[in-house]
Subunit: 618 residues, 2 copies
Amino acid sequence: MVKRYLQVMTLDEVFALLAREFSCTPSTETVPLESASGRITVRPVFGTYSVPEIHLAAMDGIAVVSAETRGASEQHPVTLNRVARVNTGNVVPPGYDAVIMIEDVWETDGKYTIRKSAGPWQHVRPAGEDLAESEMVMPSHHRIRPHETGALATYGITELEVITVEIGLVPTGSELVAAGTRPAPGQVVESNTVMAQAMLEFTGARCTRYPFVEDKPDLIRDAVKRACQENDIVIVSAGSSAGTKDYTADVIAGLGTLLVHGIATRPGKPAIIGNVDNKPVFGLPGYPLSALTVIRELVMPFLRNYGLFVSEPAIIRAGITSAIPKEIGSDEFVLCTLGRVGNRWTVSPRSKGAGVQMSAVRANAYLRVPRESEGFNAGDLVDARLMVPAEEAENALLITGSHDPVLDHLADLLRPTGVSLISTHRGSMGGIIALKKDECHAAPTHLLSPDGTYNTAYIRKYLPGTATDLICIAGRQQGIVSHDGLSLPDLRGRSFINRQKGSGTRMLLDYELKKAGIDPSSLPGFEREVTTHIAVALAVKSGEADAGMCVYSAAKALGLPFVPVAQERYELAIRREHREDPRIRALIQALQSGEFKEILNRLGGYDTTETGILRSVE
Amino acid sequence: MVKRYLQVMTLDEVFALLAREFSCTPSTETVPLESASGRITVRPVFGTYSVPEIHLAAMDGIAVVSAETRGASEQHPVTLNRVARVNTGNVVPPGYDAVIMIEDVWETDGKYTIRKSAGPWQHVRPAGEDLAESEMVMPSHHRIRPHETGALATYGITELEVITVEIGLVPTGSELVAAGTRPAPGQVVESNTVMAQAMLEFTGARCTRYPFVEDKPDLIRDAVKRACQENDIVIVSAGSSAGTKDYTADVIAGLGTLLVHGIATRPGKPAIIGNVDNKPVFGLPGYPLSALTVIRELVMPFLRNYGLFVSEPAIIRAGITSAIPKEIGSDEFVLCTLGRVGNRWTVSPRSKGAGVQMSAVRANAYLRVPRESEGFNAGDLVDARLMVPAEEAENALLITGSHDPVLDHLADLLRPTGVSLISTHRGSMGGIIALKKDECHAAPTHLLSPDGTYNTAYIRKYLPGTATDLICIAGRQQGIVSHDGLSLPDLRGRSFINRQKGSGTRMLLDYELKKAGIDPSSLPGFEREVTTHIAVALAVKSGEADAGMCVYSAAKALGLPFVPVAQERYELAIRREHREDPRIRALIQALQSGEFKEILNRLGGYDTTETGILRSVE
């Protein structure tokens, strides 16, 4: 009972089909001038009176008849007969054709004397100087900029007819609960229509989110039918795939025509497009990052056909840090971390599953790997599409290496300075390698050498000849997290959740197990690896494993017992050549601040004696 | 009784002073998630539960114990004992640690057979994969992007505390009327606070516009005092200069401390900054473009001190078409028209007086001429700051030359294609010169040669060797506009409003006057020049002149009698090398459309027989 996609179309084919199939007449609404910024005019706007309507003084001074001022000079002052006192903005009385600034006028007994002649129309704002009656102020399809509301007010315009597109959002799925309700096992918070609304309304569309519809074809049909009657476009969230409970395609086929089932993008493949009563109906995949891709790459560009403004992302050309292999045939969209290290822009893919929404929160750029390409090789120069303003990307501080929850707090501490710290978890060794390739600004690391020292030996080995500095984050306790307060010797025979190879925690664990004479094969689950301390603690909390090794703060955050094993030196490695980079300077300043020590003490498990201390590795 | 500015400070000095003087603690407000896009977080946001909280199936299929699948292959299918049917998103029951896709499973009599083994955790979304309980979702001072509302909903966040700045806007001036009231002579529509509100609220600030205050120091004092009590920042519009009715500085000095009176910018010099009860109070100059400059260059950047996000304009390096001379000492801001002609970006200053708000409507960029500079020379490469999205600047179609109201309608016709036509009025000869210098895409022109032909002789003379095409806009009637239906021979002794030298209309007039034997010196006002047809008609309508020469549509728009003098060939000259530019193609298509002829016929005074016809000048 495996259903198949009707057809898989490329994005280009889909847009061509949409253009053929739908006339895309937008709705309109009348908004007061105060709310018109960013909206698009339906028709040209004309002036109904001239501005100014009559000649005005452009300066404080006296209105004069210019012919009567001829010949005035320092040697031959002229006392004027006909004069009218005016301030800026006053009407220049009929018959007068120039204004002389008050600074250039000598008044005695009500008589005005000048020492310089005035040219005709000097310091006069002639009628219609700004706008002439009946003149076009702005054309149709013009996006009103905030500052233009001032001009429009001046021209007597108090409301405007603007373009909108009414979009009905229909969330389907028996498992849905509303945001704010903690989902029971098997339930899911409905977030796709929340996201769709926010993204689409930024373009000037107006969205209606309909009540949740259970996974029953009749109910979905009724909801879609109603939404089609009430909107210009309908978007049905989830049920767009080809599974047993995916009814969207059948419902659309029943109400109208199913045009597309499956688009050649990844993520986003299970998208649907149909025509119900000449209204486009989109079926959105359920996975949030798939839904995000379909909204961004398909629905939003389509809104341009209605005259709405949808901006293109700014592009920065950057070297990619790891390969993205792919097969020919689909456009692939990959969330990334982008930053400028030294003079080089560097971009790292960061997306994992289509359900990991944090990837879209952490990402500041994305890549489009074109359909006809077999992917990118590490080091290729690629077009990174910005998801943040250019100045925010400029200020990205890339931290790659060993993970610790305190890095998020460091990001929080730095944010008011304008620096946006983005951390990628690749373990200490991953960080050292990234630093070696100059693909990050700083690498958090805690690598123990057999002689008991931390970090320096690895820096010397992997970055020979590169002047490197180490800044101490803290002395950090690593220990065993469990439900039962287990210590290292208690681990034998207990199921275990491990950290990935190359992480400092893993190396420390291997070292301590060996020292204690415990064979890793006596720990069931030892091969299962996760990449963060909190993931270790969580696996323990959920009962998936009896124990794991992590930092104290992670155990504390989840309320689990923690038995210390060792204190290690957790440091940030940076290349000395970047020391004067303002982002690095801000980073060091934050690490050396009293506020940062307070955070460490509050989180617990950190020895702050050496926090902020800088040492050089030669 | 001439008051002086207290001191004139540079922008840099002003920002340093503001940073010293004010602590800039923002206000906060709680907004529902649906309205959080674009707002800035006050504090970090943490997850309160893990997502997912429990292992979920990532595929439709069967949950299995991975160890029991070992050894399964095409040759050795394995029939499983322990199996649970799961759909995507279902809970993986305890004890199971992998999911096999339904496509890879053969079911017979309730027994499931597989032909491939499953690795541990295959197709399983482990608990906490997206977000772990207590993990930081986003730091403080983070600008929420529309797509992030989806993630926030998933994490159970339904409202957020965000930064705002409460700004009180106090409009002063006895001459003010509200937008929508047609101003009587001497009255002015209050537009500065309308504009300020729209510009400032785009950053997340919240503005209150207070009622108009008459030019009476006591009333202004009461209004400013109240606004200071109710807001974080107060902006007083107008009265900031040093004239007899400029009370803002004295009022601020009376309520607190006057810190700055006069900043070294142009426009915008008469700005004021004061401190009233530790609240910054800004005095805004009355002229709209001065006010715009002070808001954009002073107030908006200052809002960054409160944590609001204010973006920097994007910059395009462009060749400037005419010099901007200036004296050292002030930063000068000049509104401009920017476009790409061929492969070269070109930028033309367009601002006139500080009261001409249409300059800010027509401009798509502005220049900052630095304080220490003596200005720009024609041809200099300068930084043009964009006032429109980059893609709109890319699509700017620059039209320079002879003005006609129909050009605005052409702009309206082109806008839905994405092309934004920007016309600059410099007369036919000005257009030919701009075309010669490759500083515009097309030059509207109607230049009569003694042999009675139009345009070709001038093109040959001024663009020798440059292949040029002429596209006919229309045969156009020029004639005498007056209150009394005057014809050319009636003009003697009547006051006249003229067009500028170099304009085709002026050349035609000179030609026709000579033919009729009328001496220009017999026309009082002949030396007064305006640059558009509508300005001519307006001068007549306002009684400033008895007559002038213009096109029929301008006279008709103002309801004035029109007596034809001649029909001329009004054409657009373009360089052939640009013919394949998509903007030029769209332009030609619009000129050749039926819609355009309809517009010409509706406006009247145009012979459309040859409209859209293209001829080449070799």
